[in-house]
């Protein structure tokens, strides 16, 4: 199972990396070949950085994606299942407002105004993803939300949870999972951009996404500083998606 392996490697590095990495050593010149993976843009050992840099990435990206879904999907399902058009509008139009502001602008401006810290970062990244999640789940849910089965449930006032989540949500889970798998990667690089703008993790933090972004200048001199973390991120991304595919396929087979 390719996906599982691809998923396991980065997760393993992220989890046990900090343990085996030990104390960050001294600094050499930037982007030179000494050490297994050479040095990074401030002359630190890339290998150590890679070992240290998994947690924040996985942590923040997962948290942000999860948050976006925890809020966005119910909103979308609510808008889709409600019979009251005005409520639908009331839920969706404000979200359009966020959509209408370029994400990067939002990021720049929030970065300058909100307090620093991982939490703020998670919230901001989630906020940027939220409207899209809501819209997608709403669109996917609409057809199911108005079928006879739904009418039957309404005629014995089935609980919202069972109607929206149990029935509709269940019906659109494949689409949502596919979307989540991709959005998660997006969140990951949003984190890097954010850190460069001064939100969340420090600009020289040991963080795969941040490393990829900061070491770009040395791509020609010392590719490993970019390639190593990028490879882990790619593996993570592919791993997550292939695994979800696999699980869904397995469920369907049963």
């Amino acid at each position: 199972m390719v996906g599982a392996v691809l998923l396991a490697v980065p997760l393993l590095v992220a989890l046990v990396g900090p343990v085996v990495a030990g104390e960050p050593g001294g600094r050499g010149r930037p982007f030179v070949g000494d050490g297994p993976l050479g040095t990074d843009f401030v002359g630190r050992d890339v290998l150590t950085q890679v070992l240290l840099g998994g947690r924040t990435v996985v942590g923040v990206a997962v948290a942000a994606t999860a948050l976006a879904y925890l809020v966005g999907v119910p909103l979308g399902l609510w808008a889709a299942t409600t019979r009251r058009r005005w409520l639908d509008e009331l839920l969706m139009r404000p979200l359009d407002l966020i959509l209408a502001i370029p994400a990067l602008l939002l990021l720049i401006m929030l970065s300058a105004t909100v307090p620093r810290g991982a939490v703020a970062l998670v919230v901001i990244v989630a906020l940027i993803g939220l409207p899209e999640v809501a819209r997608i789940s709403r669109a996917a849910a609409l057809p199911l939300a108005h079928g006879p089965a739904m009418e039957a449930m309404r005629s014995y006032r089935e609980s919202w949870y069972r109607r929206a989540v149990g029935y509709v949500g269940r019906g659109v889970r494949r689409v949502l999972l596919a979307d989540a798998g991709v959005r998660f990667i997006g969140a990951l690089y949003l984190v890097a951009t954010a850190s460069f703008l001064g939100i969340g993790v420090a600009p020289d933090a040991a963080d795969w996404a941040v490393m990829v972004d900061r070491n770009r200048a040395g791509l020609a001199l010392q590719p490993w500083a970019v390639v190593a973390p990028a490879a882990l991120v790619v593996a993570l991304a592919i791993g997550v998606n292939l695994t979800t595919d696999h699980l869904l396929a397995a469920r369907k087979a049963r």
């Binding site: 019979r83 006879p148 039957a152 089935e158 029935y167």
Partner: protein, 626 residues
């Protein structure tokens, strides 16, 4: 068993078609240790119609799908199935287009986001129409329909042939071919219309073998005749082999050459239809046959052509028939006073429609507690719409729906829990009415939980009981809906509605897709509940027997109005309106109806009762205590 199987085979040899269209040998279907089919074998020559009858859950659909190389979730097929000499398995289904299929629940196979017309045209372009007279174009045009038809159609330059074919087929299944209909989405059709649409698909596809699963459920009598005529014509004229899975013995008798009776998945009897009906050997067959009048009256199921003549004739006579309005009013007054003010359901001046077109115009309906009103009308006349308005699933344009004197909110969402509980609606398409991802038991139990706040286990116990009463026992109900048969789901839906403890039960074709035996059982149940706790019934049915068994009064819906309403006895026997008579043809006269009752049909009307219901009644009694 072998003997049973021989029957059709020997027939087949000297049958018209000659070439064997479908051969089934020792077919078995198992799922999780349970056997759905066992040792089913038959040969079906081209040009013949094999009817497979049997109780609900006896395996008809499973058999039919086996011919398509399909099986339900988890179902394993063994044995050989051959279509046109080619072995068919779930791995290699018959070549596309070679086997036509009319499934039991038509809604599921209609693409919800595709308008009706384009789909029809696409099929037509792919299968250049074979028969001309109905789509009015000469043989010359045919192969250019073949040759250019689809290219042309593709580029939308000249879709002539395809258009004509579609128009023709829609006519044959008595659907209007106007643009308005072609631009509709499937959900904008009535149940019967959807079913006919699927039949139209099958006809267009021009398959050599047609598997029709309950093609007449939810069809009014006249349409039923058209469908029957179509099937007959297909077999005789185009040498199509048809497997007819049906509980509708009238239909079977009218069209089927051979008959295969399934009982719990085992073929218990088979042979030429006539013979089997005349001298049913197996007790089960006898029971089955007994539930309907095994009439051999030629006119019972007329060919479409005849029916149409007859209708037109009747229409001409309508003026003479239609009584002056005030009579009708007196009639109303009469009824009201009989209902004695203690009217439970009171629908007044109901106007409803869909989008631009109006379906109901100023309709009044009253049902008293413990009373049963049967609502009949042609397919697409608006019965379901009316029912949905009552159930609060469709917002009427005008008019009020009152229950026990209190007006009900227009939509379910605005109704109080008690109101919700007191009005329950049984969907026409049972399968669509269930959440495919939860067990039937769970879903049946929910109303008790939600509406009456029973704890879950109590509700489940009640649900099991209710399901048991409709004949769904044991592990059957702990499955997901996808693993239940059509009829079983219908019954589950009924059970769900009953569990809400309604005061008014609206049944939309609850017995559609049920064999006679099961049907009677359901009707008894409903009857019982009704008498026990004064349940008011609004029954929508095309089935005369159902009306006869249940209804105190009958209302006939036509052209957006209730054209006739009165005591069941009167309307069943001496209906004034031509439509009533043709919808409720008095073939079987239930024990309730007077012997001498004879429909005063227009002169030359061939319909005459040829058999009293007595023996049936006895049969029924006897069969009941088996």
């Amino acid at each position: 068993m072998t003997g049973a199987v021989e029957g059709p085979v020997t027939e087949a040899v000297d049958g018209p078609g000659g070439a064997v269209a479908a051969r089934v040998v020792g077919l078995r279907a198992d799922v999780g240790g349970r056997r759905l089919l066992d040792g089913v074998s038959f040969d079906l020559p081209a040009g013949r119609i094999l009817a497979v009858v049997g109780a609900s859950g006896s395996g008809k659909t499973t058999l039919g799908r086996a011919l398509l190389g399909e099986a339900g979730p988890g179902v394993r097929l063994t044995g050989t199935v051959q279509v046109a000499g080619r072995t068919v398995t779930t791995a290699e289904p018959p070549p596309p287009g070679s086997v036509g299929y009319v499934p039991q629940q038509p809604a599921a196979v209609l693409n919800p986001v595709r308008r009706i017309g384009p789909v029809l045209h696409e099929i037509a372009r792919r299968h250049p129409p074979v028969d001309d007279d109905s789509c009015g174009k000469d043989d010359g045009g045919e192969d250019d329909g073949r040759g250019r038809g689809w290219i042309v159609g593709r580029w939308g330059v000249r879709r002539g042939p395809a258009r004509a074919a579609v128009r023709g087929v829609l006519e044959r299944v008595s659907l209007p071919a106007d643009r308005g209909l072609l631009r509709r989405f499937p959900h904008q059709l009535s149940g019967g219309q959807q079913q006919r649409l699927v039949i139209a698909h099958a006809l267009l596809a021009g398959a050599r073998l047609l598997v029709a699963d309950e093609p007449t459920t939810g069809q009014d009598n006249l349409t039923r005749q058209d469908v029957a005529a179509e099937l007959a014509a297909l077999a005789s004229r185009e040498g199509l082999a048809v497997v007819l899975l049906s509980h509708d013995l009238h239909l079977v008798r009218a069209v089927a050459d051979d008959l295969l009776v399934l009982h719990r998945g085992v073929p218990v009897e088979s042979g030429p239809t006539g013979k089997v009906f005349a001298v049913p050997r197996h007790p089960w067959t006898r029971r089955l046959v007994a539930t309907t009048g095994p009439t051999d009256a030629p006119g019972h199921l007329r060919t479409a052509a005849e029916t149409r003549q007859r209708e037109t004739r009747q229409r001409e006579e309508r003026p003479r028939e239609e009584r002056p309005r005030e009579d009708a009013d007196r009639e109303d007054a009469h009824r009201e006073e009989r209902a004695g003010g203690r009217r439970l359901l009171d629908v007044r001046g109901l106007v409803a429609g869909h989008g631009p077109n109006t379906v109901l115009r100023v309709v009044d309906v009253q049902v008293a507690a413990g009373e049963c009103l049967a609502l009949v009308g042609r397919s697409g006349s608006g019965k379901t719409t009316l029912a949905r308005c009552v159930a609060g699933l469709h917002r009427p344009r005008a008019g009020t729906v009152a229950l026990g004197g209190r007006p009900l909110a227009a939509t379910v969402d605005d109704r109080s829990l008690t109101d919700l509980a007191s009005v329950q609606y049984v969907f026409q398409d049972a399968r669509a009415g269930f959440d495919p991802w939860r067990t039937v038991l769970d879903q049946v139990a929910r109303p008790a939980v939600r509406l009456h706040g029973h704890p879950v286990d109590v509700a489940r116990a009640a649900a099991r009981a209710a399901l048991d009463r409709v004949g769904l026992a044991g592990n059957l109900v702990t499955r997901n809906p996808g693993r239940l048969s059509g009829g079983e789901l219908h019954r589950a839906a009924l059970a769900r509605a009953l569990l809400a403890g309604p005061r008014l039960l609206v049944c939309d074709e609850i017995t559609a897709g049920l064999d006679g035996v099961t049907r009677d059982r359901i009707l008894d149940l409903v009857d019982e509940v009704r008498h026990a706790d004064g349940l008011a019934l609004l029954v929508i049915s095309h089935d005369r027997d159902v009306v006869a068994r249940l209804a105190d009064r009958v209302a006939v819906l036509h052209d957006c109005h209730i054209v006739e309403e009165g005591p069941a006895a009167t309307l069943l026997t001496s209906a004034r309106h031509w439509l009533t008579r043709s919808l409720l043809p008095d073939d079987v006269t239930p024990d309730r109806t007077p012997q001498d009752a004879v429909a005063p049909g227009p002169p030359g009307d061939a319909v005459t009762p040829d058999r009293t219901g007595k023996p049936i009644a006895q049969e029924r009694v006897s069969s009941d205590d088996q």
